[in-house]
Structure formats: structure tokens, C-alpha cells
Amino acid sequence: MIDGIWDVLLVTPIGRLQVVFEFTRIDGVLTGVARGKGENSPLHDIVETDGRVTWRQQITKPMRLNLEFDVTVLGAGLEGTSKAGRLPSSRVTGIRR
């Protein structure tokens, strides 16, 4: 289960970003928000299947990007990729707070 708060490191074309992801489950529905430097962005189309979680989000800081995430929760850690359009996917790692 991905519910909770995660410290996540993202790699973008303009450098590494430290982002906090917060997943909340209300009445069985999973919602999430990413808190970055100067911006909170909601997560869309969150799908969780057997510890694998995918979602989409738009960020505008430090640059405007459409991102697609695909991560797997492994105990207190998560690992996976984020992809911006047709760019090569970049590695995502996170630690549960």
C-alpha cells in the first residue's frame, strides 16, 4: 500500500528534484498530491495493483512538464520511473517518511 508520505527524488532535464508525495485513501479511493519547491500538484488517474502504482501529474515548477509515473512499493521504499512525453524515462526512488 502506497498510503502515506514519501520523500522522492526525481531526475529531470534540468537537474534533480526533491519532491514529497502524499497519498491518502478516503472510503477506498486513493488520492495524492506532490509537494515540490513552490508548488503543490494533484496526482491524476492513480491506479494501484499489487504494490505497483501508476499516475499522471502536471508540474509547472521548476518547469512545465507532463509526467507519467510507474513505481513499485517495496516495504519502506519505492522505486520506478517517471516519463515526460517521449523523453527517455528517468529513475524515481523514494523513502517512506
Binding site: 534540468i14 518547469m63 512545465r64 523523453l87
Partner: protein, 217 residues
Amino acid sequence: MYAQVVLFDGFDPLDVIAPYEVLSAGSDAAGGALELSLVTAEGARTVISGTPGLSLEATAKLDPALPGLIVIPGASGPVAADPDVVDTIPVLLARVGGTDLPALVRQAFDNPDLIVATVCGGSLALAMAGVLEGRTAVTHRLGLEVLEATGVTVVDARVVDDGNLVTAGGVTSGLDLGFYLLDRLFGPKVALSVEHLFQYERRGIVWRNAGLEPVEV
């Protein structure tokens, strides 16, 4: 009319000079129709380019109320290095988002008497700042995928005309942008006379959202 060519720290000199000279010669051929200037988002200052040893002098702050053209160049510098350590071109372009330029360009888009034109990474700098959401544009071929990821519809043409936004591809396409803008503003006779003067023939078809959709055959 005015042609304000924008400088920012790390700009690519050829992106600036190519359209500047074409527009300057075109202005002469059109009887002095354009008043050209180098500007920044901050005001008059010396601006250091991304190419070692080259700086240019901006004389004023970009004024989005003036009619005519605004031309925004890309950056020059390393591409492949680690962006956490080195000011790569994407880092230089993203830094533009922290200046007043995106806000000034938004105002420019609201001015019906202005065309915003970009060369090379200029469109990417605006797109990274969220200013080109939903627009159709091109950039240097190395940046096309990033441009698309910012929410822009990408057309891989040398020059893309999306109304009040005219974007051009990599560095040398700044020449083709300049000639297209002359053609659009003053007509083919003026543009052709400058082609003769520069001993250059414009390259590529300018994409516009017009005409038939090609059928796959």
C-alpha cells in the same frame, strides 16, 4: 513598427544576429519600416552570451505595448553534461522562467499588433515557463521531445506559424525565420531583395494550420 530582439544570460549569439541582420536589411528595403533594438526583461545592460567571448549590449527593457515583433533566441552551451553541475542549455533556458520575460510575453500575446517569434531554444524557454500551453511550435531538434512534454503541439518544420507565435528550429533557421517575417510583414519583393543581398535562399516550408491534411499513402 518595432522589432525588439531579446537577450538573456547565456543566449546563443547566432540566434540573435541572424534574424537581426535580416530584419535590419528588410527594414532598409521597406523604407525604414522597423525600428530594431536589443532588449532584456530587466532593462539596459551588457548581456553575456553562452558562447565564450561574445557579449551584446541591450539598450532598453522589453516593452510588450509596442507594435511589431519580439524575437526570442535560444541558449548556447553544453548539452550532455550533468545539469546539477553544469549550466547546460536546458538549465539556461529554464532559468529564463525565473525572470520577468514569461510575464512580458504573456502581455505581448494580448497585444493584437505584436508577433512573438523564437529561434532555436527560445520556444522551449517560454514553454518551460508554461507560456506556450496548447500552442503549436518547433524548437531545435534536440529539444522537440521536451517541448512536447511541456504541453505544446510540436510540428517538425523549419518555421512554424501559429498566428501571433512564429517559432523556428535550430540555430541557422533564424535566417529563415527572418525572411519569413519580412515576407509576412512587407511582402515577397522586400524579402527577395534581402535574399539577394545576403546571397541566401530561404529553406523549408513554413507550416501554417491551413489547407488539406495529407492522406497516408
